[in-house]
């Protein structure tokens, strides 16, 4: 049994010790907002927060995260209120197909937690997730909007 704390709720999962967090989230807990993109931590579509850090959930075992606090895209809202990053993402009209955007937003959340007013260079360095649609300009703009809205 693996005990996971996801979006503030505790879950007991009967999964193998090497099952990646990604698949525990998606196929066991049915939290499908976290996406599968590559399985080798190369694209970032599966990014979640583990104790506030951006982690690519396809490449970390769920069993290793007992005692950690995991936040997925579904846990970013406060009640019905959007997180400032989500509101900024809408204002900047960032998503195109949208598939990578959960991971992009979670990576941005970790960035803002560390650097509340990131420079373009900070954003370049921190935001390494792939967006195949090429929405990078809008993602950059959205991060600046969210940072400014404090």
């Amino acid at each position: 049994m693996v005990t996971l704390t996801v979006n503030g709720a505790q879950h007991e999962l009967d999964v193998e010790p090497d099952m990646p967090l990604l698949w525990a989230l998606r196929d066991v807990l049915n939290l499908t907002g976290t996406k599968y993109g590559c399985g080798i931590a190369a694209c970032g579509a599966c990014t979640v927060l583990v104790d506030g850090q951006a982690v690519r959930s396809c490449s970390i075992a769920a069993a290793d995260l007992a005692g950690s606090s995991i936040v997925t895209i579904e846990g970013l809202k406060t009640g019905e209120a959007l997180h400032k990053l989500q509101a900024a993402w809408i204002e900047a009209q960032a998503p195109q197909c949208g598939y990578c955007q959960s991971g992009q937003i979670m990576a941005a959340a970790a960035l803002l937690a560390e650097i509340p007013r990131p420079s373009d260079a900070d954003i370049d360095a921190a935001m390494t997730n792939i967006c195949r649609c090429g929405s990078y300009e809008e993602i950059r703009a959205a991060i600046h909007i969210a940072a400014a809205s404090a």
Partner: protein, 745 residues
């Protein structure tokens, strides 16, 4: 101007059970197209193609017969309908139309191109690839070829909106006993100033539904637009920022099982045998299912299915392509070009004679590799076979076309197949399944087999490696170009020979002044599976033609921009976008260590001119710092999303130019994931500025044209910076510091 339907083009309306007015455009099937007729209903049936609904509560719903893969199509189409309807935009929403013949859009494209409907004169123009293809198969819901706004929007949505408004005005006039001309329709309200009467559209909807549909409802002049041409927020975005949008891969059904698939690694090969026992011994595995060319493991979650699949060692019959390699394919193309049994896209004048008579001859050969689509959402499909019905949930670009293909794969009639068309995590051509494409949705075939074998709904998800190695690729191609230059630096004669031609045929067109010209091709040299890849053959010829023009400019000792402008005497729109982009980019000035390159292509009705600014790092690799695009789509519906599409298309092209290359060894695709098939990321994506040139020409596409000129603009910039002419892609194979070829990893 009036929008006059012909006998083949009928506006329908009716009263829905809820008291709503529904208006749609319909076409009767064309009796001359046997293939179309086989796929469609009986001759004489009507095919409604674009619908809008005005409910009693005044809400407007636009039913969109296209998939959502991120271009904002549903929003743009709703804007076009709402504009003509004079609706209150806050009351408008869009829904995906069912994958049903009642919502086919192929017929709209056909009518748009055939010119046999009384469409407004300004819509007339030359036919292009998508329309011709669509004409062959009317029962399509194509999302591709940048067609949605051009065809469904221009013909269906505007016309339906205008007809609905005319009916609402007539209903109010009859109800109030006043003249139609004295009624104003604005922001979903009808009002009559003299009597002070007013009503919402919703209040008049039921009465309007009983009226005859006008065949001459006027379309608004562009100057009167209040919605179209303004940037509006897309309907699909809120669900994409909180994880609530459900893509195909997110489909969950009661009792659903999860599956992983391994396809024969060699294209065209088949499965001989597989020992299922090692997989069945693992936890959670329910079944091993086989198809002609794949092994599918069904389990209680995706990871267990993937792991069990790795435990299997299928035996394949690798078939005719077992020895295929990138080198053998290249040799085959060169041999066919040497042999020279060409077909021609065009042949005007006597190019060989013109070249022979010129002061000098310039010739160059170019090659481009296979490219994978690499949409972020890997191929997947959920299928439930129940009660003799095949029910499919998947992200596909053509729901109706996919339904026809799936019926064939399942061995049932189309009536026994339902396709739930879900949002796509990227498409770029990879998800355009329909009977005219040679792409087989094997993930759907596998899910059908797995559901039949288990009696449960099954979601098949391909690994990234399967997605990349089992793609339908942008073709590898070799081009040989030759032209003459006069003593005055004018192009005299143009010969463009190339291997492998797909679509569209106009992708080899040149808009530069040269009277004697030909583009000729050899086909069938290349057995790798082919599929349409964002902007299709324009990506190949955009690179070769616009690189070669740059070579001619250099040979003539001319500035690349000035040389192009001097040869565009017959193409004022092309000239205008080049001049615009040159101004945006500050053409002629460079920062230290950087240089700019320019290129221009017309694709899917939109002309895009681009400038790329590059440098070369100490590692010998090119970096694209900034790009500028000027685009002329005729007119634009939603400027913000149009610009986002041009930018996205450009970045798709930069990734291909820098990194993109699928290689083949022993019949197998080498690259399997993003470590070997890399993508531009935020930190190395060029900053990109887009300006729109609205020439007023016929509406062009948005999704594809931005990709076509990119590789040439980048390669031309490298020439300007280093003097090295890039005649082969991707750039990662070169050390641009030393000029050496870097061995592939």
């Amino acid at each position: 101007m009036a929008f006059k339907p012909s006998r083949r083009f009928v506006i329908l309306s009716g009263l829905a059970a809820t008291g709503a007015l529904v208006v749609g455009y319909a076409l009767s099937p064309f009796s001359t197209l046997d293939r179309a007729r086989r796929l469609t209903a009986r001759e004489g049936d009507l095919m409604p193609a674009a619908w809008l609904k005005i409910a009693a509560d005044n809400r407007v719903t636009v039913y969109v017969p296209h998939g959502d893969m991120g271009q904002g199509t549903p929003t743009a189409l709703a804007m076009m309908a709402a504009e003509e309807l004079d609706a209150d935009w806050a009351l408008v929403s869009a829904e995906t139309a069912p994958a049903d013949l009642a919502f086919a859009n192929g017929a709209l494209a056909k009518g748009f191109l055939a010119g046999d409907m009384s469409i407004p004169r300004w819509l007339d123009g030359s036919a292009d690839f998508v329309g011709r293809k669509a004409a062959e198969f009317m029962s399509l819901q194509v999302t591709g070829g940048s067609t949605a706004v051009r065809f469904t929007g221009v013909i269906g949505m505007r016309g339906a909106g205008a007809a609905a408004k005319a009916m609402l005005i007539r209903a109010a006039a009859e109800s109030w006993g006043v003249a139609e001309a004295d009624i104003v329709a604005r922001e979903s309200r009808l009002s009559h100033a003299a009597s002070g009467r007013s009503a919402s559209y919703g209040e008049m909807a039921a009465r309007a539904a009983s009226l005859a549909v006008p065949d001459d409802a006027p379309l608004k002049a562009k100057a009167a637009y209040t919605i179209s041409g303004t940037s509006r927020q897309r309907f699909d975005i809120p669900g994409k920022v909180d994880g609530s949008t459900r893509y195909g891969i997110d489909m969950r059904l009661p009792g659903m099982l999860f599956a992983a698939a391994l396809n024969c690694p060699v294209a065209g090969g088949t499965l001989k045998s597989v020992d299922e026992a090692p997989a069945l011994a693992l936890r959670g595995v329910k079944k091993v299912v086989t198809t002609a060319d794949a092994v599918v493991v069904v389990a209680d979650n995706t990871w267990r299915a993937q792991r069990a699949l790795e435990a299997l060692a299928p035996v394949w019959d690798e078939g005719a392509n077992a020895a295929l390699s990138s080198a053998s394919i290249e040799a085959g193309m060169n041999a066919a070009l040497d042999k020279g049994e060409f077909d021609a896209d065009f042949a005007e004048g006597d190019p060989e004679k013109a070249i022979a008579g010129a002061a000098r001859t310039v010739a160059a050969s170019y090659s481009v590799p296979f490219l994978a689509h690499a949409a972020m959402e890997p191929m997947n499909a959920a299928v439930s076979v129940h009660d003799g019905m095949v029910e499919i949930w998947s992200g596909v670009q053509d729901g109706l076309g996919c339904r026809a293909v799936a019926a064939k794969l399942a061995g049932v009639s189309m009536d026994e197949v339902t396709v739930h068309q879900l949002p796509m995590g990227g498409g770029f051509g990879r998800r355009a399944f329909n009977p005219m494409m040679a792409m087989t949705p094997r993930h759907i075939e596998q899910a059908i087999a797995a559901s039949r074998a288990t009696g449960a709904p099954v979601l098949v998800t391909w690994s990234r490696e399967e997605d990349m190695r089992q793609d339908y690729y942008r073709e590898a191609s070799i081009a040989r170009l030759k032209a003459g230059l006069t003593a005055e630096g004018r192009i005299a004669g143009w010969v463009h020979d190339f291997a492998e031609r797909h679509d569209p045929p106009e992708a080899t067109a040149i808009h530069y002044d040269v009277a004697d010209r030909t583009a000729r091709y050899v086909s069938g040299t290349n057995p790798m599976p082919w599929g349409p890849w964002r902007s299709v053959d324009h990506t190949v010829h955009g690179f070769t033609i616009e690189s070669f023009i740059d070579e001619l400019a250099a040979a003539a000792g001319a500035d690349p921009l000035a040389f192009r402008l001097a040869h565009l005497g017959n193409a004022p729109r092309h000239k205008a976008v080049l001049e615009r982009v040159a101004g945006m980019a500050g053409w002629g000035t460079n920062e230290p260590g950087r240089a700019k390159g320019i290129a221009m292509r017309e694709a899917f009705g939109t002309i895009v001119a681009q400038v790329a600014e590059v440098s070369v790092g100490d590692d010998g690799r090119a970096r694209v710092h900034r790009m500028w695009s000027a685009a002329d789509p005729g007119e634009v519906v939603n400027p913000a999303t149009f610009k986002a599409q041009i930018t996205g298309g450009a970045i798709y092209g930069v990734t291909a130019a820098l990194h993109g290359g699928i290689t083949v060894e022993k019949g197998r695709v080498v690259e399997g994931n993003f470590d070997a098939y890399d993508m531009v990321r935020l930190g190395d994506a060029p900053r990109h500025e887009v300006e729109i040139v609205e020439s007023g020409a016929r509406l062009g596409g948005a999704g594809e044209p931005g990709t076509a000129p990119v590789a040439a603009a980048v390669a031309n910039a490298i020439f300007a910076l280093t003097g090295q002419r890039i005649r082969s892609l991707p750039l990662r194979q070169f050390d641009l510091k030393t000029g050496a070829q870097i061995a592939r990893a």
